[in-house]
């Protein structure tokens, strides 16, 4: 796979949405003729969608009150200013 290195750089550029229109065409054109690179690009895209499928995680109940209870006491100077 002589083409791989250059093509792979281009793939990442496309995935980062930083490829120019010409570069995108260039990659598409190459993928049409190179099955190895086509698989490679498909695998990279699968890796992306795998990550994107991670469900939202929420802070546990009572999180805010726990934080608030641990805040240092107000500074004297501040209280004085009020």
């Amino acid at each position: 796979m002589k083409c791989e290195k250059e093509a792979v750089l281009l793939m990442h550029k496309v995935l980062d949405q930083e490829a120019t229109a010409t570069e995108k065409l260039q990659l598409n054109y190459h993928l049409k003729s190179c099955a190895d690179c086509r698989d490679y690009f498909e695998e990279l895209r699968e890796a992306e969608s795998f990550l994107q499928s991670a469900p939202e995680v929420r802070a546990p109940n009572g999180f805010t009150s726990k934080v608030m209870a641990q805040l240092p006491a107000e500074k004297k100077t501040v209280r004085f200013k009020r």
Partner: protein, 187 residues
């Protein structure tokens, strides 16, 4: 959103404790999510997320009001998570059997499903699979990957959070993607 946050931060800077509660409410899920994905453990994630807010509060005078608050807050959280990872034993593996238990691994200790919405789009198995794959990434790729794919932040924002040039962030994301590609391929 930014204008509201700015107003609240000004109150906090004047010493208003309660105003900070609004900040915690606004960002708690995001900060907890970053910590959880970095550490893969609920208790540690909660500790780190709480600590991040406490540090933000105590250092609020250092925060420049015209900067983006979330960037600053995520930086604090990411750094705390990385510090925590450094202190961990390197031979800590989730699939290692826990001493004194029969066949019980750290996998079975990950009760990550509790916080899932009722409608389980992703099965628990897949959910643990994702977390495990994220944990398999070296921490420096892991943080970049989490910020990009879990928090959906721009490369520029990630570079500000991690205090690295955009080019370095790109390299880390590329390597993270490659590492994951290889693993998914073999799995």
């Amino acid at each position: 959103m930014d204008a509201i946050v700015k107003r609240i931060i000004k109150q906090v800077k004047k010493g208003d404790h309660n105003a900070f509660g609004e900040i915690v409410e606004l960002y708690k899920d995001k900060v907890y999510h970053i910590s959880y994905r970095m550490l893969g453990n609920k208790q540690e994630a909660e500790d780190v997320a709480q600590e991040a807010f406490i540090r933000a509060f105590t250092n609020i005078d250092r925060f420049e009001i015209n900067r983006k608050f979330s960037t600053w807050l995520y930086r604090i959280a990411t750094n705390l998570a990385i510090d925590r990872l450094r202190k961990k034993r390197p031979d800590y593996y989730l699939d290692a059997e826990i001493a004194g238990t029969e066949g019980l691994t750290m996998y079975s200790q990950l009760a990550a499903n509790e916080e899932l919405p009722d409608e389980k789009v992703v099965s628990i198995e897949t959910q643990q699979g994702i977390q495990q794959e994220i944990l398999n990434l070296p921490p420096k790729y892991r943080s970049a990957i989490i910020l990009k794919y879990i928090q959906e932040l721009s490369l520029k924002e990630i570079s500000e959070i991690l205090e690295l040039p955009v080019a370095t962030v790109k390299t880390r994301i590329h390597r993270g993607r490659e590492a994951l590609r290889k693993r998914l391929r073999n799995g």
